[in-house]
């Protein structure tokens, strides 16, 4: 079996597990706080940041591109927030406008960069639908640090995040800094989206955030249980997609990952004991 020996496949698999674990686990909060669409806005609007990060760094450097993605993703979220809260645009229209603007900007930038001479720019378009094979050994360190920071932060402040998610009004009345936790969770959602871009791509990334959490909700009886179950589900889906795509040259990883995650979520909705069809009985 080449799978056991090929270091490229090991790197790809390890990267996929890290991404799936982080995005899936953090998706718990996105789903419970009804911020799934916000995740979609952030992932599409991450594209100009990815290209911008590449332009600034001069080469294909993962930390620079992820930082750029984080900046433009959060900027789009802030734009949607401003349209909705300050200018009274309906929330889904505000989210749609921010998504469209961010993504259009990204595609224009991407076409511009690809017309420039230079070897490094080739492959940036894999950020559209993801390419597992693009994961480098050096990327793993970055992914590991980001995953450890995110999951560690959530574990440390778990009680506060739980209360701020379930009942923000009561939490505020009890003197918890709900605004701070709101901002932190939005930031973590942005990280959850951005970290998986290379593997899944900007177009489908939010599905990897949402689907594992939806599946986990069907079985979890506590927030902690849902958090880790969603993380495990995300890791499994990402790993499956990455291996299938690595074995079939030219097949984009994102759609495979999302198909796997959607099947898992669909099955969970049908058989999960906590909610959905079987819970109605």
């Amino acid at each position: 079996m080449p799978l056991e020996l090929d270091p490229t496949v090991v790197t790809v698999a390890a990267g996929a597990v890290l991404l799936g674990l982080t995005s899936g686990a953090l998706g718990t909060f996105a789903v419970l706080r009804r911020q799934s669409l916000l995740g979609d806005v952030m992932s599409h609007a991450a594209l100009p940041g990815v290209v911008g990060g590449y332009l600034v760094a001069g080469t294909r450097t993962l930390p620079a591109m992820l930082a750029g993605a984080l900046v433009t993703g959060l900027a789009a979220a802030a734009l949607a927030w401003t349209l909705h809260r300050r200018l009274r645009v309906k929330s889904e229209a505000a989210l749609g406008a921010a998504l469209g603007l961010g993504f259009a900007l990204g595609v224009v930038l991407l076409s511009y960069v690809q017309r420039q001479p230079g070897a490094g720019s080739a492959g940036l378009e894999t950020f559209l639908f993801g390419q597992a094979a693009a994961t480098l050994r050096s990327d793993l360190v970055v992914l590991m640090v980001v995953a450890a920071l995110c999951l560690g932060a959530v574990t440390i402040f778990f009680g506060e995040l739980e209360l701020a998610t379930f009942d923000p009004t009561y939490a505020r009345a009890r003197g918890h800094s709900v605004e701070l936790y709101d901002a932190a969770l939005t930031g973590l959602l942005a990280v959850a989206v951005v970290i998986g871009l290379q593997l899944v791509g900007v177009v489908l990334m939010s599905a990897l955030v949402v689907a594992p959490a939806v599946a986990a909700r069907q079985f979890a009886r506590s927030l902690r249980g849902m958090f880790w179950l969603a993380g495990g589900t995300g890791a499994a889906c990402a790993l499956t997609g990455a291996l299938v795509s690595a074995a079939s040259p030219g097949l984009a990883t994102g759609p495979v990952v999302v198909l796997v995650a959607s099947v898992v979520a669909g099955l969970a909705l049908l058989v999960g004991p906590e909610r959905g069809r079987s819970a109605e009985a």
């Binding site: 778990f158 379930f166 009886r221």
Partner: protein, 263 residues
Amino acid sequence: MVTPGADLAPLVATDRLTVDYGEGPALRDVTLTVPGGVMGAVVGPNGAGKSTLLKSVLGLLTPRSGRALLLGDSPHRTRHRVGYVPQRSSVDWDFPADAQTVVTMGLYRGLGPFRRPGRRERERAMQALETVGMGHLAKRQIGRLSGGQQQRVFLARALVQDPELYLLDEPLAGVDAASEAAIIAVLRSERERGKTVLAVHHDLVSLGDYFDWVALVNVTLRAQGPTATTLSEEALADTYGGRVVLAARPDRPGVREEAAVAT
């Protein structure tokens, strides 16, 4: 039994409080003084600003003018000591947690980061659940509880704080008879222990039975004081716009319908 308002400093007070959401004032010029030791109700028609009053007192809304005092100090400094019970409909009950977990949330503030609620916290939550008659449902998912049981979980979460003041937003709305009786019994026993209760209430029929102090609110404060002397036909007509005729008499059949028309 404590006489309402006897020699106790006000635990809740507002001074010419005006709150504005941007479409005309929700509350105007409200000067309220809730004496310590009462079982008090805030009553008024829908949209009269009852919940707004409670949230302003907790410092959750910023008044346009005037101010609120809670336990004799700024709400931001004292509100964590209040047993606040928000409206049941303000949260999504489809959240992965059992009843005991939600009650334990009343103790998170004392824990801080890194520390998880331990056996002591779980036991205190269990005791509070038993007090509201829900010990046997401690492990039930909150989404599978009835409305009344969910409301009792919220009450238990406030009880576990052992606060000196309870502020409750519509604790009896959409609640079954058994839960209503349990909630009132718990609040009465807390009052007997010297605690103060202030609840937004919507049912004029039960008002006189449950509460010994009342504030009538319709954007402005129409009347406040002991229920027996404050709840006159004139005061109610003034608060509800003249559509209620002595609704506070449970012995009169058909009164509940009149009250329903008014709200």
